[in-house]
């Protein structure tokens, strides 16, 4: 009977209840849209960070992280072919790619700039597809002295595809070495500071320049990101000569974005909750004021204080549940409409390309929005419910 009375009382003043429900619905829709956007951003950023740059795992020679190398590749991997065979024998592994990072000076004959080169296996790099070619061609498979130059660096060096540059760096023995390279193409990663210094070159060319057979790291790409921890544990057991870092340990930007968005989401949730609390509390307080004599009657008939309180709490729950249902349905519909609309957002700070506005709707987002709506509406009815239950019966019966 308590629930029946609560349910019917919600519809007693339809206009007021409709406004309260709308507040809850807007709040839930806001949470769902932002939550979906956040989830999509996290997943997109995570996968693009992994697939285009970091890999799921990076394998180094043991001691790489804990020792400061005195010379380039002092802690490089010696027999990468054997290691690669062992790693790729695991069916969860999609591929491995050897890489070296080196720094030095790049010159066009007239001026010099510092560069940061990533030496890659051209065919593997193509699969990772972590950059956009804006001129020329990709790195050829069998041309050790071909390079790709970041767009900012190409502009600074006044080079285009087909031009030549000189790269100079320190070899693994500690001496200086230089080589002439052909600019095969110009690329952009989307991050301006990186593109102003970036060079991509074949690993064979880098090994010639550094005068070594070693590689710095072996990037491991998995079929499924969720397998990262398990594969790492297996490799740690079977390959004691290596040490590893997972994508999560390397993706500091990803974690900064997650923290920022979670902070914004939490703040948004607080604002939504505050609005819902005041709205629902106001509705129930007005309802109590209008029903004072009714409350007096119920108490005169022997209804306990606890039952009166439960009755008004139940009204909060009913409002919350109805608002949550409408909010979840409305939020899911609006999110799918936005996803179909292919809306493009402007580039974020530090980026040069925009990205599509998409929302990833997971059950947890919908459940969270529903949970917040119901809990907030229930909490908001506690004070009014206690107020109603502590009424003086005689005063309540005399209320006009």
């Amino acid at each position: 009977m308590t629930a029946r009375i609560a349910f019917r009382n919600v519809f007693r003043n339809r206009r007021r209840s409709a406004i309260t429900l709308l507040v809850i619905v807007f709040g839930a829709v806001g949470l769902i849209l932002f939550g979906g956007y956040k989830q999509q951003t996290f997943r997109g950023l995570r996968e693009s960070t992994i697939r285009s740059r970091l890999g799921h795992l990076q394998i180094y020679k043991r001691g790489f992280a804990s020792n400061e190398a005195k010379k380039p590749l002092e802690y490089g991997l010696d027999d990468v072919a054997a290691l690669r065979r062992a790693v790729e024998s695991d069916k969860r592994v999609k591929m491995t790619a050897a890489q070296i990072t080196l720094m030095g000076l790049v010159s066009n004959g007239d001026k010099s700039e510092t560069f940061i080169a990533t030496a890659v296996e051209p065919l593997k790099e193509k699969q990772m597809n972590g950059y956009r070619l804006v001129g020329g061609t990709d790195l050829p498979a069998n041309e050790p002295d071909a390079v790709l130059v970041g767009r900012g660096l190409a502009t600074s060096m006044h080079v285009k595809a087909g031009d030549y540059l000189t790269l100079m760096t320190t070899t693994t023995a500690g001496s200086l070495n230089a080589t002439d390279v052909r600019v095969a193409g110009i690329f952009m990663s989307g991050i301006k500071e990186f593109d102003d210094r970036a060079v991509k070159m074949p690993i064979a060319g880098a090994q010639q320049l550094l005068q070594t057979k070693k590689v710095e790291r072996l990037i491991v790409m998995l079929n499924d990101t969720d397998d990262t921890a398990a594969v790492r544990a297996d490799l740690a057991r079977t390959q004691p000569q290596i040490e590893m870092k997972s994508w999560s340990e390397l993706a500091s930007f990803y974690h900064q974005v997650v923290m920022l968005y979670n902070g914004i989401f939490g703040f948004l949730g607080l604002i939504v909750s505050a609005i819902v609390v005041f709205s629902v509390a106001n509705t129930i307080l007005m309802s109590i004021f209008e029903r004072t004599r009714e409350i007096g009657t119920l108490m005169a008939m022997g209804t306990t204080r606890a039952r009166i309180a439960r009755m008004f709490l139940a009204e909060g729950v009913v409002i919350g549940v109805l608002g949550a249902i409408a909010g979840v349905v409305g939020g899911a519909l609006l999110a799918s409409l936005i996803n179909r609309g292919h809306v493009m957002l402007p580039p974020p700070p530090g980026y040069t390309v925009g990205y599509p506005l998409r929302m990833l709707l997971t059950p947890s987002i919908l459940l969270t929005a529903a949970f917040i709506s119901i809990v907030t509406a229930t909490i908001s009815s506690i004070v009014p419910a206690l107020k109603a239950s502590r009424m003086n019966v005689v005063d309540a019966l005399g209320h006009i």
Binding site: R4, I5, R12, M301, G302, T303, T304, V393, V394, L397
Partner: protein, 229 residues
């Protein structure tokens, strides 16, 4: 005695002015009484009814209801006493607007945790008894004043209380309807032995009462049994 009031007084403040609503009232209500509390406005009728009904506390004196000294117990602990011993009939009917006539009558039985089958039988019996069975599924706003008061009477009677308290039960009804309601209450008193105490201005109610207690300025000025019941 079902109700026994000894030296009961009630004072309260109205703004800065102290009001003595009841002053040293002694009153016994026997089981089966059909008693009218009469008097002008402000004479203390409703205050006396509220004190007997355990929804207000006296400033002094002692009230024993069905053998229990209710003055010694806090009001919120008297909910069970109100639920099991008392029934209320109000001048403005005070039905729960969102419940149907059936559900309004059912409510006291839900408070008593009466089982569904017995509840249904009792609700139907009482709706029939007060002549409102055909309107069982209608809500209060779909009923006339007389019909609403009949539902209120069924609601007060359904839990089979020992004492029914009625505050101006006919004040909002036309004279014909009021007469029918009084007939009904007198019949229920005679058939069930339930005790009725009314607060009233209405000479028709006073003339139907077996016992008339007149109040004036918070004191009992007359306490008489009618010659004809």
């Amino acid at each position: 005695m079902l109700v026994s009031l000894t030296n009961v007084s009630k004072s309260y403040r109205l703004g800065r002015v102290g009001v003595r609503a009841l002053d040293a009232v002694d009153l016994d209500v026997a089981r089966g009484d059909f008693l009218a509390l009469a008097g002008p406005s402000g004479s203390g009728k409703t205050t006396l009814l509220n004190l007997i009904g355990c929804i207000d506390k006296p400033s002094g004196g002692r009230i024993v209801l069905d053998g229990v000294d209710v003055t010694a117990v806090p009001l919120h602990r008297l909910a069970a006493t109100r639920r099991d011993t008392l029934g209320y009939i109000f001048q403005t009917f005070n039905l729960i607007p969102v419940l149907t006539a059936y559900e309004n009558v059912e409510y006291p039985l839900l408070l008593q945790n009466v089982g569904r089958r017995e509840r249904d039988a009792r609700v139907r019996r009482w709706l029939d008894q007060v002549g409102i069975a055909a309107q069982a599924q209608q809500r209060p706003d779909q009923l006339s004043g007389g019909q609403r008061q009949r539902v209120a009477i069924a609601r007060a009677m359904v839990a089979e209380p020992k004492l029914i308290l009625a505050d101006e039960p006919t004040a909002n009804l036309d004279s014909d309807t009021a007469a029918h309601i009084l007939d009904l209450l007198a019949k229920l008193n005679a058939e069930t032995g339930t005790t009725f105490v009314f607060a009233t201005h209405d000479p028709a109610v006073m003339s139907r009462a077996q016992r008339l207690v007149r109040l004036h300025d918070g004191r009992i000025s007359e306490n008489a049994h009618a010659l004809v019941a």
